[in-house]
Symmetry: C2
DNA sequence: GCAAATATACTAGTATTACTATCGTTTATG
DNA sequence: CATAAACGATAGTAATACTAGTATATTTGC
């Protein structure tokens, strides 16, 4: 029998009170919160509703995360840790940095379409959450504190890794991090705009217009 | 005696319950909310606190705005209406579309530094709010409804106007709105990152790195 | 296989937020 | 100067975001 390899990440213990990966309830919290946030949006999602859905009291969920905001940070960290793994996989053994950057932009600007993991984390839904809600993870009054605790380490690491490819292509380039964070955040926003404020984008019939736009933008700048 | 011209905008009546510009209390609500949101951030700002600050009961503020979110939308609309006016002023009688786009990017990527209006709206503080909090005006579960009501008309109009300059430079360009909304939102975010998550940017000693970055990005793409 | 530790369930309760309602008084305006 | 509109004062509600305490399972270590 073929056993699919289950990806295991060590998420920084600062991000939770009790490791959700260490118990049945914890895993239920993660998988159900992903589908619930996806359905109703982060604002309408509450620990009370989650508790109802998994038949556990609110107070039990608080043992894992001090609040729903830390849960969102946990989910985003999981996503970026996983994405760095995907990036490494997609770019090793590719000699040309231009090709590697091209693959990286594909990964960063498109939501996940297939869930090839068999864990309790649905990666398609998680990536949707990242595209539509991740900005709420760091755009709050507590950013500085949370940043000190390392809440955004995984995201910064991804930006760094792709920024390094940019520097391989053009070692004198002054703004590698700005460029990559503009692409990532821009792609998330353009996707959101296309669904809710289409006048701020340019919807066409072509597939992957957002990816195409950011590739042209990046490569014309780097040449 | 020289009387400075006071700029008057008609803000869409859909955005308020009672026009704050029509009464003393209304103007106090606007000017005090701008300084309070600036000081404590939008999340910590409440109508109760505002009421205390201006010595009026919460319930009186609700007569002007159904909630604090609509007040934020009012403020952003005011800003974008004013910015379109500034754009028009900065670009009329400039023949070259390249020069006009250059001026437009200056306006869109830099916070306001001088308040030359003598009204109850402090434009320096308002522009700071736009840079740091405006994303919260449209990144909510109620976007679609609010969009239908016209809450984001002023913003879309600015994106359109600058997008039109892009098309003058390159009539075949496919993504004028994407490009401009990327610049605007990107500049806001990079400013925020530089203050809270500097690893996502490239802070240098140079002045106006963000403006420089987006100008290079845009003009290299359009050529 | 059983005691000790740990995890979870159940219930209750608090502070704050985001409103809504009512009514009396002040202020503007024709 | 009457009358409508605006504002102030007070009270109250539902929901959210927690915290506390105690009872009951479940795991684990010997």
């Amino acid at each position: 029998m073929i056993q699919k390899l289950q990806i295991q990440f060590d998420i920084d213990p600062e991000l939770y009170s009790k490791n959700p990966d260490s118990s049945k309830l914890g895993r239920k919290i993660i998988s159900n919160s992903i589908s619930m946030i996806n359905e109703m949006g982060f604002e309408d999602f509450t620990f009370k509703k989650l508790g109802l859905a998994i038949n556990s009291p609110e107070s039990s969920i608080y043992r894992y995360f001090v609040n729903k905001h830390m849960l969102l940070i946990y989910l985003t960290s999981w996503y970026w840790t996983w994405t760095e793994y995907r990036l490494a996989f997609a770019t090793t053994n590719v000699a040309s940095p231009l090709d590697r950057l091209d693959s990286a932009i594909d990964l960063l600007t498109q939501p996940v379409l297939i869930d090839d993991d068999i864990s309790y984390v649905n990666e398609i839904m998680l990536s949707k959450i990242i595209f539509s809600e991740s900005i709420k993870a760091y755009h709050t009054k507590d950013v500085d504190e949370e940043n000190k605790k390392g809440c955004f380490k995984a995201y910064k690491s991804v930006v760094n890794r792709v920024g390094a490819i940019v520097l391989e292509i053009n070692p004198d380039f002054k703004y590698p991090h700005m460029l990559i964070s503009t692409v990532i955040e821009g792609a998330h926003q353009q996707k959101y705009f296309s669904e809710h404020l289409p006048e701020l984008t340019d919807l066409t019939n072509e597939q992957n217009a957002i990816t195409k736009f950011y590739k042209e933008l990046v490569f014309s700048y780097l040449k």
